[in-house]
Structures are given as structure tokens and as C-alpha cells.
Symmetry: C2
Amino acid sequence: MQPSFARQDETVPETVPETVAEPPSARQQAVLDAVLGLMVEEGDQLTMDAVARRASCSKETLYKWFGDRDGLLTATVRWQASRVHAGRYAPNALDVTALRESLQDFAATWLEVIASDTSVALNRLAIGHAGSRKSNLGGIVLANGRFAIGERVKPVLEAGRAAGLLAFDDTEAAFRTFIGLVGRDIQIRLLLGDALPLDAGEIRRDADRAVEQFLALYGRARTPTPPSREED
Amino acid sequence: MQPSFARQDETVPETVPETVAEPPSARQQAVLDAVLGLMVEEGDQLTMDAVARRASCSKETLYKWFGDRDGLLTATVRWQASRVHAGRYAPNALDVTALRESLQDFAATWLEVIASDTSVALNRLAIGHAGSRKSNLGGIVLANGRFAIGERVKPVLEAGRAAGLLAFDDTEAAFRTFIGLVGRDIQIRLLLGDALPLDAGEIRRDADRAVEQFLALYGRARTPTPPSREED
DNA sequence: GCAGTACCGTACCGTACGGTACGGCGCGTC
DNA sequence: GACGCGCCGTACCGTACGGTACGGTACTGC
């Protein structure tokens, strides 16, 4: 019942970590990748048998490593989160152009993430589990997704304000407006199974449009509005 | 196997409708309400037994009326959708004030809906089923939620444009920006189980802020910006 | 009163899936 | 080369749940 992430055949002798996550070993990562793959391809049929078969390991091992099904799913969510944590958006020299590019980069990256098969499958899973008590995958997804991203973007916004480029009181509110302008109804539609084609070009345009709209709302300096707005 | 919505003890003799939905009888509506209640309260444990117990009817009846579990869920989604279809937002006399109020009404109403327990539970269910093939509840929710709402709001936007109050080329794009400004990350956070307190006052303020931001982006006439923006 | 019908309650069946047990194998270590 | 161990593969168990069958009851039309 006590899931452990420490492999017994490695240095660690008998630390017996509680329920918390050590970084998974290479073999364990392969298992978690199998779970992700299965999630994306099969969606619903995420059974322990299927995972064991796909990862070429025994169910007994799964239970030894991850405790139970929820432990496996939790570890999978954490694993996926750990590999998305990349990219920093804080520019050094802060003029309007740098700020704009920084925000565009963030917006495009984030759109790519939420539009990815993996993210959609993972969010579906977490949302499905959010309805019942026990082991909130939803909380983990939120903490590593939405909230983690906020903590990386807000410094950019505040730097922009410090440089006199943006005007706002509430950083959180400004960030949420930005999130709204970037994401709009994309995520919920994808989660509900809408086709919604979203290639790289579309993402780029969406990101640019959202940043221009955000600057129009929160920009202080009269920025040289670049190429073209989406409409008009 | 062939679900039918026509009660046999009513006038209809032997129409045997295919798989499509007649309006459910009062008794059937009670059953569907039981499903909704169960969905909200129990989340996951939406079993046919539980529904039958709660609705004080036999499982056999459930299967006769709705065919199978998916049929029951589909009918429930349709039933809920049918009662949300209310309210029209198209004002007659179109000046800036009327347009603003119309948009505010829409925004507040929509926020109330997506923040309701029922909507959250229903969307969770539909999203959970979107992963697997067969009987896309997701499509139904989208059609009756997001898309239906769009069809009712877009005329307002276009009327605003015709009156010279708004400026945009692509109505759909303008609408999606509006949706983004109103909803921001609220729906996904609620679906993932975030607490996110959202009382009537908060909704009102959110709606007003979103409308002001939308008018700032798309408004043509220099509107007398009312009371106060959220920040600044 | 009697047949037919719509329905409730409950018992029942089959299966899928979470979780466990066990035999066998490869790879250490002594 | 014998032992231990971590792991694979597979067989197995218990239960929960979708779906069906059936007896009992109330109501309707004749």
C-alpha cells in the first residue's frame, strides 16, 4: 500500500519515503510514458493490464512502484508536468519590443501545450477524477499548469510595469485577462472533443493577436502597433 | 435496444421513433432530474442502480425508456440544455448604453451558468466521455452550450456594428474575444476542482469588467467610460 | 370480474477491472 | 555455482456495475 519511488536496487538502502515522489528511475519513466501514450491513444481504456502490457512489465511491479492506480496516475501527471517546465520568458533589456516578444513567446508556447494531445488527454483524466473525492489529480494539474505558468509570467508583467510600459494594479487580474485573451474557448472546446484545427501558423497568429489586444488594454506607452490586427 | 421517448400510455400509438428525442414526459423529466442531482452530489458514482433508487423506478424502465446508459446520459444532457435556453439579449433601441447592458446581461448570465454545480458536473461527464468513441456527449454540450450562445450573442454584436458602435470584420473572432474576456480561466479551474469563490457580486464585477475591456478593444464611438475599471 | 399493460422492486448473470499470488528467469554477490 | 533479488508473465480472486428476467401491483378498458 505504501508507494515508493526509490528503486531498491540503487544506492538508497531503506529510506522508505512516505507517499511523496522521488524522481522516477529510467525504467519508471518508460512506464509513465507508456501510460501517457495509452491515455492519448485509448483515452478511456486506461487499465492496469493495458499499462503493464504496453510497458512490458508485470502488474505486481506497477503496484510495488506506485501503490495503486491513483498513485500511478498521480506519478504520470507529475512526470508530464516535470517535462513541460522549460523556457523562461523574462527578458533582460526591457523595451516594448522585448516585452511584446516575451509575451508572444509565452502565448504561443502555452497554446501549443494546451492544444497537444497529451495535455488534452491529461486534463480529461484529471477532470474526470475531480468529481470524486481522493487523490486530486485536478489540483496537481492546476498547480503545475495554470498556477506555475502564472508565476513565470507575472514577473514579466511586473517588469513591464516597472519599466513604465504597462499599467495595472492587480497583477493576478492582469494575468488572468491575458490568459483569457490567449486561450479564449480553445481549451474547453478541445476537451469536449471539438476538432478545432490549430496548426503552427494559427497558433502564431492567435498569440500575436492576443498580445496586441492585451497591450491595447494595459499598455501605457503609445506602442507602434505592428503589422496588422486580426480584424479591421 | 431501441430507445424511445414516447410513453406508451399516452396518445401516441405505435410511432416507434428511431433514436431521436421526443420531449420527455413528466415522469421521465423527474428521472432526468434525479440523474442531474446524482451527478452533482456523487460525481463519479453515477450508476444505473443509484439512478433507479433515487428516482424510485426500476432499472428495467430506465432501459426501456432510454435504451442504455449512454442514452440516459444523452437525454439528461439534452434535458438540461433545454432548460437553459432562455433569455434573449437583443435590445431594440441600440445606443451605447443598451449595447453595454445587453452584453453585461449576457456575460453575467453565462458566468452564472458555467459556475453552477450542474454545469460543472455535466461538463465533467461530457469531457470524460469525449475521450472514448461512441455517443459524443461533448458534441451535444458544445452545440447547446458554447455554440448556441454564440448564435444568440453574435446578432447583438452585429447590431452594434450596424449602429456604428462596434468595429470588427469577423463576428466569430470578436465573439471569441468576448468569451475569452468573460470566462478567462474560470471554467477550466472549476472543472479541475479549484475552489474559486464566485458569488453574485463577483460575477457582476467580472461581467462589467469584461464588457468594458471588450468595448475598449472593439468600440468605435468614444463611449463615456463608466464608473471604474477594475484596475488603475 | 378479467385481460392487458405499465411499472416497481429485486434477484440474477456476465464481464471487466483493480488488486494479489506465484512460478520462472536473468543478474548480481559471495 | 549457489543463493538472493528484482522483475516478467500469467493465473487468479473479489467486486462493482451494465444489462436482463421475473414476480407483484395498480390501473384501464371491456
